[in-house]
């Protein structure tokens, strides 16, 4: 089995260790003998999203980095729209999660360029929402095996994000999309947006496997993944859940 992954703008959107997400997908595929072809899409490369693309990872960055990327990526907006509508798997963290939406107003009240592909709106206001976060998973994880039903991570954002999609999780500790509705992230088809750094995937191996399985299901007749020994990851996950929830 084989997956084509586009790692988007690792040179610009690389705050808070989001590079760990690609490392995580790469290793979990390798341990199962799945071939991954990873292409880095950067400001100066001409990698295209097309029908062969199986997974897209895009991280968080500074507001200036985010503007650079949005402007650069705008030329691929319709390809991305097709990709999302055709169940393409995509993980967009923090600033990129905002960028797939309609509007993002920065702390200086400037409207930053957005891809306008999803009905998501973000406005920077008030205190930075920062710290460790635990959410209760709101996606069907029954086909991935780790018996984990929470997500842990670290969030750091001034924007308050609102939308009517299903959230990725319900906040148990921390802030999430905004400081009101206790929802974190957004799920539309196989688009996953989230504020979770940490990075999100290594300590949430069930989410990594959920994405790998969805991508494989799109091209192979498969409904389960080979089970891995995740003792180390699960301990890392649980120790943070315990620390945060018992605080």
């Amino acid at each position: 089995m084989e997956l084509n992954v586009i790692n988007m703008y690792p040179d610009v959107l690389n705050l808070y260790g989001d590079s760990g997400n690609i490392t995580c997908i790469k290793q979990r595929a390798k341990w199962r003998g799945i071939t991954l072809n990873i292409q880095d899409l950067t400001v100066s490369s001409d990698v295209q999203v097309n029908e062969d693309t199986d997974m897209i990872l895009i991280g968080g960055g500074s507001d200036s980095g985010q503007s650079t990327v949005a402007t650069n990526l705008l030329k691929q907006a319709s390809a991305l729209e097709n990709y999302i509508e055709n169940d393409g798997v995509i993980l967009a963290i923090s600033g990129s999660y905002q960028m797939f939406g309609q509007t993002y107003i920065d702390p200086n009240n400037n409207k930053l360029p957005c891809l306008e592909l999803l009905d998501i709106n973000s406005i920077s206001q008030g205190e930075k929402l920062m710290g460790n976060i635990v959410t209760k998973a709101n996606i069907d994880l029954s086909n991935v095996n780790q018996n984990l039903d929470t997500f842990v991570g670290f969030e750091s954002h001034t924007a308050r994000t609102k939308h009517n999609y299903e959230p990725l999780g319900f906040v148990q500790a921390g802030f999430g999309n905004n400081d009101e509705d206790k929802k974190e992230g957004a799920v539309y088809k196989n688009f996953i947006g989230s504020y979770l750094h940490g990075p999100i995937l290594p300590k949430n191996p069930h989410l990594a496997d959920y994405m790998i399985l969805k991508a494989l299901e799109n091209k192979y007749d498969i409904d389960k993944l080979e089970v891995l020994d995740d003792e180390i990851e699960i301990n890392a996950h649980n120790s943070m859940v315990n620390k945060i929830l018992t605080k």
Binding site: P10, D11, G17, S19, G20, S62, S64, F154, K203
Partner: protein, 451 residues
């Protein structure tokens, strides 16, 4: 004339010093803090006691640069005052003046935290300002690196001479300042790499393009050029042209003013060569001669866990602090110089001084550790031991070589240290900020028990 307030605030600060010392605390910041409550501009008076002031800031290398420069200057000058304890906010700069009460110093040599530069420069204007580098460092404290650079940039007054590493591309952001600038450089050498990790690359501050590199000495530090607008390294005033390593020490040749001089350094790590070139530039600029500088650099011995080696009967243990991806990657590279069988330990906490967010370890190059010849075991220790273990596993180190010692607090590392001390091969330990004192204390205790 010293005002009554100055005297009073120093008296109270000094009292705090003695009280803290009596209680067994390292009084590196408290006396300054207490004195500040009495007279908030005390640093203004204290700064005037120094003929010349040299300040160092940057993500990595502040403490090493300050300690080494203090040591070098003492080769020619009687009175040099410094905040050698590593406390580097305004109270840390003030504390040595409160504790020591001379009326005059030849040099004040201070390290100042990037976030405290603006406050400190309200009261003192340094003659020389060494800026080492800006790497992503505890983002949760300052926001983003660009903001940190801007804070430092905006605090600089035109009378100060800047000493800048020309290989560090983010220092291009000081180009617009009218200040006199002295640039240092380390040319391509046997340790240079020819590709940059994509996450470490930064964009040209003039046009936003990605830099091309001829060589990288570590992180994003090297010879770069912008393929779009032609921005490149500044021509150096102090240029290290060749570097050799022999039995754990470096020899390098430094060109300045048409002369070539050779220096010997016993600190490991290319980043320490960079720190040393900055120190040499400062010492030369204030008029010191080559022989004295070289002698002082050669006989400099580092303690307190900044690449410190502790010798046990049957092995050596190397201890070094690391606090951001570039620093940690370079520390691992240095560990890899030793090709024999060895064990590595990383003690990581997430208290405020460490940064409560540990996600940056994913940007550090743990993958090279998986390639180490003779890696016997990797010890993951501290309040974030499980995070380290996950990182280490994904770097490709087999799980049967990973030992995890979760700690409930910063003192809960006794078993891990005991186990690594009982190993019969050389050990390499790196720690986060708050983990360093207890790790070092336990290592020294084991060594003393050996005798």
């Amino acid at each position: 004339m010293t005002s009554v307030n100055t005297k009073l605030s120093k008296f109270i600060g000094k009292s705090a010093y003695y009280v803290a010392k009596k209680c067994g605390k390292n009084a590196t910041a408290l006396p300054g803090k207490v004195a500040l409550t009495v007279k908030s501009d005390l640093l203004l008076d204290m700064g005037k006691k120094c003929d010349k002031i040299i300040v160092t800031t940057g993500s990595n290398g502040k403490t090493t640069t300050t300690t080494l420069l203090n040591h070098v200057l003492k080769g020619s000058y009687d009175s040099v005052i410094s905040n050698l304890g590593g406390s580097n906010m305004i109270q840390g700069v003030l504390t040595p003046f409160v504790v020591d009460s001379k009326d005059h110093y030849d040099f004040g040599v201070f390290e100042v935290d990037e976030g405290s530069i603006a406050t400190v420069f309200e009261y003192i204007t340094p003659d020389y300002f060494i800026i080492t580098n800006f790497f992503r460092d505890q983002l949760d404290r300052y926001g983003e690196t660009d903001n940190t650079i801007k804070m430092v940039h905006d605090a600089i007054k035109p009378e100060t001479t800047l000493i800048l590493n020309s290989n560090e591309p983010s220092l291009l952001q000081f180009d617009d300042l009218p200040n006199k600038k002295i640039y240092t450089n380390l040319e391509e050498n046997q340790f240079s790499k020819h590709e940059i990790k994509v996450v470490e690359n930064i964009l040209c501050p003039n046009c936003g393009q990605t830099f091309d590199y001829d060589y990288v000495n570590y992180g994003n530090v090297g010879k770069f050029n912008c393929p779009n607008c032609g921005t490149k390294n500044h021509d150096p005033d102090y240029n290290a042209t060749s570097i050799n390593v022999d039995k754990g020490h470096y020899e390098f040749t430094l060109q300045n003013n048409g002369k070539e001089e050779t220096y010997t350094l016993y600190l490991k790590g290319l980043y320490n060569v960079y720190n040393t070139i900055g120190v040499i530039a400062a010492a030369k600029e204030v008029g010191m001669d080559y022989n004295t500088i070289n002698e002082r650099i050669q006989n400099f011995e580092y303690k307190q866990g900044r690449m410190e080696t502790i010798n046990y009967k049957n092995k050596d243990v190397t201890l070094v602090l690391s606090k951001n991806p570039v620093g940690l990657s370079e520390v691992f590279t240095t560990f890899g110089y030793d090709k024999d069988e060895k064990v590595v330990m990383y003690v990581m906490n997430s208290y405020a001084p460490d940064g409560i967010d540990v996600s940056w370890i994913w940007d550090a190059d743990f993958e090279q550790v998986a390639e180490f010849e003779g890696l016997k075991r990797f010890y993951c220790v501290g309040t974030r031991a499980e995070d380290v273990a996950t990182r280490v596993k994904y770097a490709g180190i087999p799980t049967d070589k990973i030992s995890v010692y979760p700690a409930k607090d910063r003192w809960d590392i006794k078993q891990a240290i005991e186990d690594i001390v009982n190993e019969d091969v050389n050990a390499f330990i790196t720690t986060s900020f708050t983990a360093l004192p207890e790790t070092r204390r336990l290592l020294i205790e084991h060594k003393e028990n050996e005798n």
